[in-house]
């Protein structure tokens, strides 16, 4: 009696056909509702793509200008990293770097010496972070600093120069060719000062760098801080095709063998990532709430449709359609509205997202130089992600069905006698 199991309900094909034709009964109402859904889904898709794009750009920025894919420290440095302790340095020796570069998946390494300093233009003095970078060697293989020089030139090994963040230069009122005094405490606690010429200005889009960091040749920093041949960290870039987790695992092993401590960029930037994650959660909740509100139109449409077809519902019940079958019919109509509106919104959204993923959105004209909370600048590129687009579409279908739940349940509870008497 396999047919008995299906008694009292309509098959999916019949249900879908009936739902589709019922929606076409009042085409204008259906279109108006579908357009509402489409606009909501379009905004959802766009907001999601923008959010993902900003995040991806932020992560690229952090990797390119701040952390690389991983950093290797002396044991104990990481826990105290906020203080930039100089007494926990490591040897910048090429032999160590050769060993790290031998780890499969690692592309390049660069020794850096990070220190606290005061920058003075003669009248004002600002606390900053100074970084000694391996100018003649490998820093440019790990980081993208040369590409971020917006004015002037990159550092040269034998020149007493510095690169300075654009925001910092503005605050200090200095430009190319001006001289600044760097004041820092050496490893031994003595104060040391050196005058350096501004040879280049940086614009990375990363506020931490642009507004608070200057770069000097590594040898100069080592000399100034009385740390010859030393560094505070070795930054590591992975090969583009390397699997991040596996490479990091191998790097950790190699570092541990050398008595050192390797940390991935996600760990080094965990505060920022936590912030990003919190923002993402907040925005996702806001978007889902927004979409739900937009889908109240679906509730109204299905409510009206069910009311108009009260007698028909009674007839279907007389024919043997169970209450659950009635509910399913109206849920199908709501879901179909979500499917249609969602498809239109997703298609238009996909086109817009694909375009902005290539051409980018000029945020400078919206925000000027304002900090938007992410290390990005000038242009935001949306992330075109087919999975996310599909998710947004299916979310619309699910929420539209959810929005139909109340009117559908109401219709399913009708008394057939009352329903048939309805005029």
């Amino acid at each position: 009696m396999s047919t008995e199991a299906r008694a009292g309900r309509l098959g999916p094909f019949t249900l879908g056909r009936l739902a589709w034709r019922n929606l076409r009964r009042n085409r204008r109402r259906t279109w108006i509702t579908a357009v509402t859904v489409a606009v909501a889904v379009l905004l959802l898709q766009f907001a999601m793509a923008l959010m993902m794009g900003v995040e991806r750009q932020s992560f690229d920025n952090l990797i390119n200008y701040q952390t690389g894919h991983a950093k290797v420290f002396a044991n104990g440095y990481y826990a105290a990293r906020e203080d930039l302790p100089l007494d926990r340095g490591i040897a910048a020796a090429e032999t160590l770097q050769v060993r790290l570069r031998a780890v499969p998946g690692v592309l390049a390494t660069a020794a850096r010496l990070t220190f606290q300093a005061q920058l003075s233009n003669g009248s004002d003095q600002l606390p900053c972070v100074g970084i000694g970078i391996d100018v003649g060697g490998s820093d440019a293989d790990v980081f993208r600093i040369p590409q971020a020089v917006t004015d002037g030139v990159y550092l040269e090994p034998d020149r007493l120069g510095m690169l300075i963040g654009g925001g910092l230069a503005e605050v200090l009122g200095v430009g190319l060719g001006d001289w600044l005094t760097v004041l820092a405490k050496t490893r031994n606690g003595a104060f040391e000062a050196v005058d350096l010429e501004v040879v280049g200005v940086l614009g990375t889009g990363n506020p931490a760098i642009d507004r608070g960091t200057f770069l000097v040749p590594l040898v100069l920093a080592q000399t100034m801080l009385a740390m010859p041949g030393a560094a505070t960290e070795i930054a590591v870039r992975f090969r583009p095709a390397a699997r991040e987790g596996a490479t990091l695992g191998r790097l950790r092993g190699a570092a541990a063998e050398a008595g050192l401590d390797a940390r991935g960029w996600r760990e080094v930037e965990s505060d920022f990532l936590a912030l990003v994650s919190a923002k993402r959660t907040g925005r996702t909740v806001a978007l889902v709430v927004f979409l739900t509100v937009a889908l109240v139109g679906v509730t109204n449409t299905i409510l009206m449709a069910a009311f108009e077809r009260t007698r028909e519902i009674g007839m279907l019940m007389a024919l043997g359609l169970r209450g659950a079958g009635v509910r399913r019919l109206f849920l199908a109509e709501g879901a179909l509205l979500g499917l249609l509106g969602g498809a239109v919104g997703t298609l238009v959204g996909a086109a817009l997202i694909a375009w902005l993923a290539v051409s980018g959105l000029d945020i400078a004209s919206f925000y000027g130089d304002m900090d938007i909370g992410y290390p990005v600048q000038d242009r935001i590129y949306t992330a075109f992600d087919a999975g996310a687009l599909l998710f947004g579409w299916l979310l619309a279908v699910a929420l539209a069905a959810l929005a139909s739940l109340y009117p559908a349940a109401r219709a399913s509870r009708l008394d057939p006698v009352e329903a048939l008497r309805h005029v």
Binding site: R21, R25, L319, R322
Partner: protein, 236 residues
């Protein structure tokens, strides 16, 4: 011969606020298999209530209703729906076809609800019954493309396609002109004779009463008269 339906001292009382309104006050009737019966009476006499009870759309507040030898008392809404799907056909005053479905699709609906899974079988049965009611050429039209009489023919086909024990028709001719009404009654009488399906009508229409082989008159929720006219005037 078994009865298509049996009512034993059936009572139905509606509650309107704190008021109890008796609609049917103790009706006992046996509807024999193959009956062609009209229930007549003025408005408020209880004929629609009686038809709803016979149609398992409603359950009595007292007494027993048996359809196809099975009592309807104690059945849940869902079981009642399944019961209607299996045993009962309906023809309504206002036809009540689904406007977005063709005649063929409207008639197919009860078979789908009954769980007849084989498409070819459904198609064959739908086409046969639509041919029987004289709509062989109009199967793919929608209700709006059919006349009132044609729509009621579709409704009759829809009621008969699942071969029910009993077809209930609530004022089936009320929205038709008298010539068409006569045709519809003759069609139902013919199907009744050919298939042996029992028909029960509620009506005001003398024409329907004239076609019936049995006429039950109700008054104030009670049977006032029960008149059998075997071989009756229905054959014109």
């Amino acid at each position: 011969m078994t009865a298509a339906a049996r009512l034993t001292d059936v009572r139905k009382t509606y509650r309107v606020g704190s008021l109890e309104v008796p609609a049917v006050r103790g009706v006992s009737l046996e509807i024999e298999a193959g009956a062609f019966m009209a229930i007549a009476g003025p408005s408020g006499s209880g004929k629609t209530t009686l038809l709803n009870l016979l149609g398992a759309l409603d359950t009595p507040t007292g007494g027993a209703v048996e359809i196809a030898e099975r009592p309807t008392a104690g059945l849940s809404a869902r079981d009642l729906a399944d019961f209607r799907g299996a045993h009962l056909g309906f023809v309504f005053q206002t036809f009540n076809l689904i406007p977005v479905l063709t005649a063929r699709e409207n008639v197919e609906l009860p078979l789908q609800l009954q769980g007849v899974g084989d498409r070819a079988e459904r198609r064959e049965r739908v086409e046969r019954v639509l041919t029987d009611v004289g709509l062989a050429d109009l199967m793919d039209r929608r209700p709006t493309e059919l006349s009132g009489g044609q729509q009621q023919r579709v409704a009759i086909a829809r009621a008969l396609v699942k071969r029910p024990t009993l077809v209930l028709a609530d004022e089936p001719t009320a929205n038709l002109d008298s010539a068409t009404a006569g045709e519809i009654m003759a069609l139902m009488r013919g199907m009744n004779e050919r298939l042996g399906t029992s028909f029960v009508f509620s009506t005001h229409d003398p024409l329907v009463m004239e076609h019936a082989r049995r006429l039950v008159r109700l008054h104030d929720g009670l049977v006032k008269s029960d008149e059998r006219r075997d071989g009756g005037s229905g054959v014109h």
